[in-house]
Symmetry: D2
């Protein structure tokens, strides 16, 4: 199992999550010759490359940094952002509901900070692709930087566009709308999806769900579902097992549908 053994060691180009003794986290791509400057000293990438995953790497001040593979969840949470990102609990579920898997061609709007873009890109690799639309130039640039930082930008095409003008792609496998008024773009979404293509949207208010459900009546979509997910975390203390005192009460409502062929298409 040579391949496995090699995988046990950190390679150039790998994204490493470095955790300081006081639990501060750094997400860094390994580049020979570079250094990471932290509040607890400097770490040389060359000291990290070749170490075993899970090893503790000392800074020049002698503080030990744990070197771990970042989970997709951590990568999503680490994106630099100006906007609210979609939570991992929703992302995991919508990847499944939208059938995002290796090879899929997926459209997303808006890009925002690129948290979901990152998850989509990671999952459609190596043969699929993500087309992501954003109306604000600044957001697009930040999202692209976020994807580059984790080495996934090659799987993504970034576009700055008002999606009222439509999407460039046709016959996409899936399309996700994270915009304020998704009900305004159903014709454009339908035109971009293949027959039976997966449509999803996330909206924070019940009013938006209502607007979207009314809009579906004007377009050939079917198999409509509205759902929400509540995540409850427990304190991991065996002698006193109990849920955490507070929890996230709401992130958004997930709306799913399938694009049906319009009468003239079928």
């Amino acid at each position: 199992m040579n391949q496995a053994t090699e995988r046990a060691y950190i390679q150039p180009g790998d994204i490493v999550l470095l955790i300081s003794p006081d639990r501060r986290e750094f997400l860094v791509r390994m580049v020979p010759g570079r250094e990471l400057h932290t509040h607890r000293g400097i770490l040389r990438h060359d000291d990290i490359i070749g170490a075993r995953w899970g090893a503790t790497i000392p800074s020049h001040l002698g503080h030990g940094y744990l070197a771990l593979t970042p989970s997709l969840e951590k990568q999503i949470r680490s994106v630099k952002r100006r906007t609210q990102i979609i939570y991992p609990k929703e992302i995991g579920y919508l990847l499944l509901k939208l059938n995002i898997c290796p090879g899929a061609r997926v459209i997303e709007a808006g890009t925002g900070s690129g948290g979901l873009t990152l998850a989509l890109a990671q999952m459609v690799r190596p043969d699929g692709h993500v087309y992501t639309y954003e109306i604000r130039n600044q957001m697009r640039d930040q999202a692209e930087a976020n994807l580059e930082r984790v080495g996934l930008s090659e799987y993504v095409t970034f576009k700055v566009r008002d999606i009222a003008e439509g999407f460039d792609e046709r016959d996409a496998d899936a399309l996700f709308l994270d915009v304020r008024e998704p009900q305004d773009y159903l014709a454009q979404a339908h035109a971009a999806l293949k027959g039976g293509g997966f449509f999803g949207a996330l909206v924070p208010t019940t009013n938006q769900v209502v607007d979207l459900l009314y809009a579906f009546k004007q377009h050939p979509f079917g198999f409509i579902e509205v759902e929400e997910l509540l995540l409850r975390q427990y304190k991991p203390v065996p002698g006193r097992l109990r849920p955490a005192d507070t929890m996230v009460g709401h992130t958004g409502y997930l709306v799913f549908a399938r694009a049906l062929l319009a009468p003239q298409d079928s």
Copy 2:
């Protein structure tokens, strides 16, 4: 966009979800020359192959069958089973938490009916692999048949084994236990995981969570999390938006951890 256009049409080998006018569902792999016999007549695969995704295909009795790409969720729900399968709401989340993505090498025990195996195989394609362990010969055979039916068995190695004897793999990226007493196999799990590898388990009772949390104290694991997910479905009626009257009240508690290097390894 030739590739896209081609993807808009059903090909030999594709898995197709066929939905009858009375909403019965059939999950079928397209093989030229074959026929599907249903309660509403016969469908010839040759009539389906070459049709547009989303098209309606008539049976020999004239009933129209909608031909859709099955979502991963549908595929999971369609496995023939003798055991409780893990719900999609949990599967989506645990794929994210365990960092399951294209290229990952993942261990699972027990295989059960193969619902989770199917999701793992779909997501690690084309370069990753799933090693799945099961103690009951019969379950292993059914799971393998389920994976073959959806064309994913090449990404999976099925083993019949009491995991108390240990796993064959080393330096695995992730390992998931869906067994009655996961606390008994932490040493074996740790030996199979690479440094920082992702550990997950699903257990239905609080007693099992407590047992597992106590067991973690005896083995080098860290970053322990206990969580549960509640999925709430809404009736998609725009003028009367409200949650469904009943919901699933419980499936299980998810427990996650990272394998730390033992002192002698680091």
Copy 3:
């Protein structure tokens, strides 16, 4: 503690919950000379009166019936009904939020089957009163019969009326609307409540909540709250503690407010 001792024995006029060996339940008011005919034989009230609460009373066929005080919850669930009743989880909370306590004067519309009426009557005793409005004669009669059966009708005035015409009472402590369009009756509700009086409503859909919230802008109400309660039941098995597999996913949204004095009143 003579009073206590006397209370340990069943008296004429008491409401008794009789539970058969096969867990069928009968809610009966004790009247000397009467008999209860059941699928497991006849029970004479005279055999029950004078027995200890908690005793097992044999039917003439020798089957033992457990004689218990019915909880308010049981009494609510026992009302004969044609309509959906409000669930105990909501009733307990709204009694608290509406400040229903001994001595309170409370208005309710519509009466429905009288489930909430019963809870209100039980709690405002002995000096308070419930005024309940219903538009359908038949419902009013059934509700009154339900209240009489548990000996609480003296604390309730039943009225058949379209509440668009207004309520007869003034300066009520609290008012609860369980009607389809509560937003249409805010002026009437306000006129019936004393300054700072407690207003509550229960509606099943988000659309109704939205309508009610908009209507509040036209009337002097304040301290508006919208809430929902989820009740999760566990299987009471100590070695396998876990929530029940299914749960009630939705009953309704609770809306609370306080009546403010209109500018001309203060």
Copy 4:
């Protein structure tokens, strides 16, 4: 409706909730001649007595204070405390499940800060009584002061006692344990309850629920239920209706049972 009209005005002895323009709240019992000193000036009780409920009373600095009836919820939240109080969502439900109503004789341990004691006293008035036990002298004194402040202490007997020594009362209608190890006091609880009496307990951890469920096997209790309540608050904005971002994730598990007659008693 003279009685009603009189009730519309604030009387000496009434508990009044005074809300300042900046939403600070003061819970005060009206005593002629007294003054309330606040950060926005002094309010003379004599200016408040005789005012209409819901009126705005000016302080000597001209700031208007809204004078409202405090809800039972507000009164509970207002108790001066050193301990965690039981939340209103649980109190409303347990009042219903334990059949607390006017005339009931109820035992409680421990008293804590008296939040639940206050609710029990309010609901058993005028003929019922609450017997509350507490092991810490200091807590008992604070709780009694809290009950006196809202005029309910006459309905409560406060006792300082280790309940391992047993309760003084017999044939109580209901008994509630809010102590760390309720499983240790089931014999004492059973001895104090009448046949079929209502037993309740609140515990924060699953381990405690398990311990209590095991202990029930050693004592004549039946109809055991384990439940939890989740309260979800919505932002009351009609154009953007949505749940609050965060919610209380856990307060405790409610355990209910009925005391059965021991074989020798029935």
